[in-house]
């Protein structure tokens, strides 16, 4: 299925995809490495919820024209970071930019208009609107969305027709054309993911940000979704996605950024990252691959006993010393 989707795609943004991917080979495999042509740059972005520091990213750059995956164990701050750079949440501190333009304090809807459109982990389709209407909402710069012009159809009918054509083409590509007139709420989970992705494309974004595009999607549809994500890149769009599915990450991403406990801990192409000790430690704990030999067991036991002895032993020792001091004084 993915093969038939990839045909006949025009490059929509004029980005040379193969050059962008080739340029990544020169990039150092370390957290916060400089990219030759970054579309998003974030510096010192920090977000705390009470005492918990959810995100604390020193420096990260996202290369234009490639698929970048953002991975990490649960609670690593991936989605929060997503929300922060798309304006859906405000960080405590930090600066980040899109195409060199600072996005600090920019409202979410303006970020989207600039060409950085996101989807959501829990899909947000407009349930009581038809699939086609969902798509039409996605189009930007509509005259008919201004209150005073909205009442008079001649102002927006022409634009509406061209938006509908565009929507139909996208629905065709995302295999939703048969559902065109159905309520979006009647779609299955996987179809909703497709609709959300297609709807995001109505805005012609330069950067598509997908939050867990594979969550809750059956394996058959997964293959098709993978093809669709690749097709976004082949059109010249930059893709940043959060994902837990490692097969998908390995399969389609050109670059992987790993987060753990709010920080970027590793970066690199998928294969190098998967073998990175820091990444394995973050996912599985730092002692996960050490066999528990007899000596190790003894070591751990000794350490534990020492700790217990310290806790029990310290107090009487202290009281003894103070009382002896008292005697000396008296």
């Amino acid at each position: 299925m993915p093969a038939e989707i990839n045909t006949e795609l025009e490059n929509a943004t004029g980005v040379d995809v193969s050059a962008a991917r080739a340029a990544l080979r020169e990039v150092a495999h370390e957290p916060g490495s400089k990219k030759p042509d970054p579309i998003v740059v974030a510096d010192n972005v920090r977000r705390t919820f009470g005492g918990l520091t959810a995100v604390d990213v020193q420096h990260v750059e996202i290369q234009r024209g490639v698929i970048t995956a953002l991975i990490g164990p649960n609670g690593a701050g991936k989605t929060t970071f997503f929300n922060l750079i798309t304006g859906f949440d405000r960080p405590d501190d930090g600066d980040w930019s899109f195409n060199g333009q600072s996005l600090r304090g920019v409202a979410a809807y303006r970020v989207a208009r600039m060409g950085m459109v996101r989807t959501f982990q829990l899909t947000k389709v407009l349930a009581k609107l038809t699939v086609l209407e969902n798509m039409r909402v996605g189009a930007t710069g509509q005259h008919g969305e201004r209150l005073l012009r909205a009442m008079f159809a001649p102002f927006w009918r022409h634009q509406e027709t061209s938006n509908t054509e565009k929507a139909d083409a996208l629905l065709e590509r995302f295999l939703l054309i048969k559902k065109r007139e159905d309520f979006a709420g009647s779609l299955s989970g996987g179809q909703r993911k497709l609709l959300e992705m297609a709807r995001a494309l109505m805005a012609d974004p330069e950067l598509v940000m997908l939050d867990e595009p594979m969550a809750g999607v059956n394996p058959a549809l997964k293959q098709s979704l993978l093809g669709h994500v690749k097709s976004l890149r082949d059109e010249g769009r930059t893709v940043l996605f959060v994902e837990h599915d490692m097969d998908m990450v390995r399969d389609i991403s050109d670059w992987v950024i790993v987060m753990a406990q709010g920080k970027v801990i590793a970066e690199g192409p998928p294969d190098s990252v998967m073998g990175d000790q820091r990444v394995i430690d973050a996912y599985l704990g730092s002692h996960h691959d050490q066999d528990l030999s007899v000596e190790m067991e003894e070591q751990i036991l000794a350490a534990a006993e020492a700790e217990i002895a310290e806790e029990h032993g310290e107090e009487p020792v202290q009281t003894a010393s103070t009382s002896s001091e008292g005697e000396q004084r008296g």
Partner: protein
């Protein structure tokens, strides 16, 4: 029992000026609640502000009725801004709390003794509608001969009110079929999704609150004109809830929902009142006094109304014009 007279009088209410005023208020609420998902529980507040602005302009300051009406609508719009600025960025329930409180604050303030010389306290204001009444082209009782008829002034307010309803329905229909209306419906479904597509959700909600509030303001002005008087009790919280009943009965988010809803609601409520009144009065009442006295009969309409609303919510929650398919989605 005189069935003809009962039907005739019930129809007089169902199509009458009171029904038309509630229709206007419900059209406003439909823009808020039906299309945008804004929970405005203070439609009575919008009505009071506009109604009192108009009447006090004429009765207290002796200025023009038309200027008063215009100022009334501006006041309703200002109220929408005042309520919207702090609450529309927050979750939907905050607007509900603020609007219901604001409507009560407005009613209590207007009825207060301190402002007696401007707004007439609890007695309200009278004698402000001469320029409106002078435009009345009708004389004698008017209506459908043998079926229903109204006094000339009632018929005049009725005609103006229904014309305003038609105009508002037209505007709402034009707006809701446009891309603008589509964004509103999108906001009702999921405002974050709409925001992620580059729409300024806050501005759209504000526009919706303004338009619905203005239509509510029209309803307030017409309330005053239709009664030829105004007092704070016209704008109690039950006014808002009657308007919601009308809206839900007809079907929210449907342009003609409020129109059908208001006619059915007012027809039924007066029909039940007249029926139970007739059934318990006279020498040999249909319902014996041991079951129900004529005093109790006047409350029966609310009992039956409440029961039928419950049944409506169970068996046809989408209202009369609603689409069953839409509700099936909620259940998923």
């Amino acid at each position: 029992m005189d069935w003809h007279s009962i039907f005739s009088q019930a129809l007089q209410q169902g199509l009458g000026p009171v029904a038309a005023v509630y229709c206007l208020a419900a059209i406003g609420l439909n823009v808020h609640f039906g299309s945008t998902g804004l929970l405005n529980f203070g439609q009575a507040g919008f009505m009071a502000v506009a109604g009192y602005a108009m009447t006090s302009f004429v009765a207290t300051w002796g200025l023009s009725f038309w200027l008063g009406s215009l100022v009334g609508l501006v006041a309703a719009a200002l109220l929408a801004l005042l309520l919207g600025v702090p609450t529309l960025r927050l979750r939907a329930d905050y607007l509900a709390i603020v609007t219901i409180a604001a409507a009560e604050i407005i009613r209590q303030t207007i009825g207060s003794v301190t402002l007696l010389k401007y707004f007439g306290g609890q007695d309200g204001l009278q004698a402000f509608n001469s320029s409106f009444a002078n435009l009345n082209p009708f004389t004698g009782r008017i209506g459908i001969p043998g079926v229903v008829s109204w006094r000339p002034y009632d018929f005049w307010t009725l005609v103006v009110c229904w014309l305003l309803c038609a105009l508002c329905c037209l505007v709402v229909w034009l707006l809701m079929r446009s891309p603008w209306g589509r964004v509103l419906k999108g906001i009702r479904e999921d405002e974050d999704a709409v925001r992620s597509l580059g729409k300024n959700v806050y501005a759209y909600k504000m526009q919706s609150l303004l338009i619905g509030g203005l239509i509510g303001g029209l309803a307030g002005i017409m309330t005053a004109l239709q009664h030829s008087a105004i007092n704070p009790s016209f704008f109690a919280t039950d006014t808002t809830f009657f308007a919601y009943t009308v809206l839900l009965l007809g079907g929210a988010a449907r342009v003609l929902g409020p129109v059908a809803g208001t006619i059915i609601f007012w027809f039924l409520i007066s029909f039940l009142d007249l029926f139970f009144g007739a059934a318990t009065s006279g020498a040999d009442p249909l319902i014996p006094a041991s079951i129900m006295t004529s005093n109790q009969a006047s409350l029966m309409r609310f009992v039956v109304m409440g029961l039928s609303l419950m049944l409506l919510m169970i068996y046809r929650p989408q209202g009369i014009f609603g689409d069953r398919r839409e509700l099936a989605i909620d259940a998923r």
